[in-house]
Amino acid sequence: MTINVSEIRAQFPILQREVRPGVPLVYLDSTATAQKPLAVIAAMDDFYRRSNANIHRGVHTLAEESTALYEDARAKIAGFLHAASPRQVIYTRNTTESINLVAYSWARATLKAGDLVILTEMEHHSNLVPWQILQAERGIRLEFVPVTENGLLDLEVYRQLLAQSPKLVAFTHMSNVLGTINPAAEMIRLAHQAGAVTLLDGAQSVPHFAVDVQALDVDFLAFSAHKMVGPTGIGVLYGKRELLEAMPPFLGGGDMIREVHLRSFKPNALPYKFEAGTPAIAEAVGFGAAVDYLTGIGMEAIAAHEHAITEYALERLEEIPGVKVFGPEASHKGGVAAFTLDCAHPHDVAQILDQDGVAVRAGHHCAQPLHEKFNIPATTRASFYLYSTKDEVDKLVDGIYKVKQYFG
């Protein structure tokens, strides 16, 4: 269950890069987007060099090849999630579009004024704004599970909210700021008991540990390829079959139809009903390669590695005077360390770290309400993935000491 990090790093061309002459890249921003192994880059390159064609509608060799590659990738993703069928895997652009698809199709067909949707205070904007738009349009009611001081969801309040018969509970599996891994299986079980449909934002969970949709019994799961060593431009909405079947189409156009007349159309079967127009074909191929790559290494091994790095990072960061790390203990946490430094603004921290090639994010990380909750405008965030090393954590820590020299 251990991974060979130096072997892994050799497979990521960008990790060989120097940010500036003599300054190697220390990439600690995988929560924003992951780097890509050669296998993924090459799969897409090869697709464009050998098989590129539009899918589904063609009988020529290239069209058959590209259709097969596109659908094979879907089957791989379904397998990765332990989904019952590839038909439940709908390609979207990203997590954000996946959540919007549920908001536009399922929710607009289902929710009425006054209906309750439960979210949490640690949601990414992608799982807030679509519901705010719907609230403005429809008059649904939004309630939020609070985040405790130590970065966990307040499950007592959650239970109380469930007593109000919510129609939907939508929450993140793992916070992209606090790193908190929420007890999704338990929360979904309780939501179902209360009669609610559940939507899990898997943007940070699916890339980092094994997620089994059937074990979780989740109704909808949204995630992005680019955060799991896959390409940009493609994501997935997984859904339970009965729900997806009953949902009206969202985007209209080619491929999502069974037949079209001037004044009417019949929608296509799943998953095509929700895939309008020419999809991200090369990206699906790259996504399939990413899933193969992660599976080859093993999600358990990846999670264990990240856990070890995170423990080490928390230890080292907390030893720096003036640093405050947000979120729970390492035991409840994925590979994210968001912190403040008393003497300097996160932007300045990130900028000074960049001088030494250390790439971290500074800002609200698309979780502004969470930052408001903690009364801070921004944090600096270091995040880890299968290719991260303790040595990189040390460089981060050295960089923070340098910041203190400037501002201290």
């Binding site: 009988v59 058959e64 097969a68 139809i257 069974r258 037949e259 019949k266 296509n268 079967a269």
Partner: protein, 129 residues
């Protein structure tokens, strides 16, 4: 590849033996392939023993879809409806005697899909097969 257009297929396409529409009929089913517009309608008469007494197909489409419909109809006449329910894709491929890529497979299987979908009253039974 030339195999794809074996003489038997061209023959059944050009001169189908079972093309038409039965009226009256006991069952009528139809469906089309959304990707190419091939369309098949099948009408059946069932005798007192639950066997297919007469059957016919109508529609339009490529040689593969039309020939396979004609061959399929030929293969069900006289058979118990219950047996037909268990026909699978291999049955049709054996009738055609060719290998097919995924897109043309849909053409070949359209008539079976119509037939089974109709007998079961289900839409998509076959695509998962």
């Amino acid at each position: 590849m030339d195999d794809l257009y074996r003489e038997v297929i061209i023959e059944h396409y050009k001169n189908p033996a079972y093309k038409g529409h039965l009226d009256p009929h006991d069952y009528a089913f139809e469906d089309s392939n959304p990707l190419c517009g091939d369309h098949i309608e099948i009408t059946l008469r069932v005798d007192g023993n639950g066997n297919v007494a007469e059957a016919a197909f109508d529609g339009h489409g490529c040689a593969i879809s039309q020939a396979s419909a004609d061959l399929l109809i030929e293969s069900i006449i006289g058979k118990p409806v219950e047996d037909i329910k268990s026909f699978n894709r291999q049955h049709v491929l054996d009738l055609l005697g060719i290998e097919l890529g995924p897109v043309r497979l849909k053409c070949a299987l359209l008539s079976l899909k119509v037939l089974k979908g109709g007998l079961y009253g289900l839409g998509d039974t076959l695509e998962e097969a």
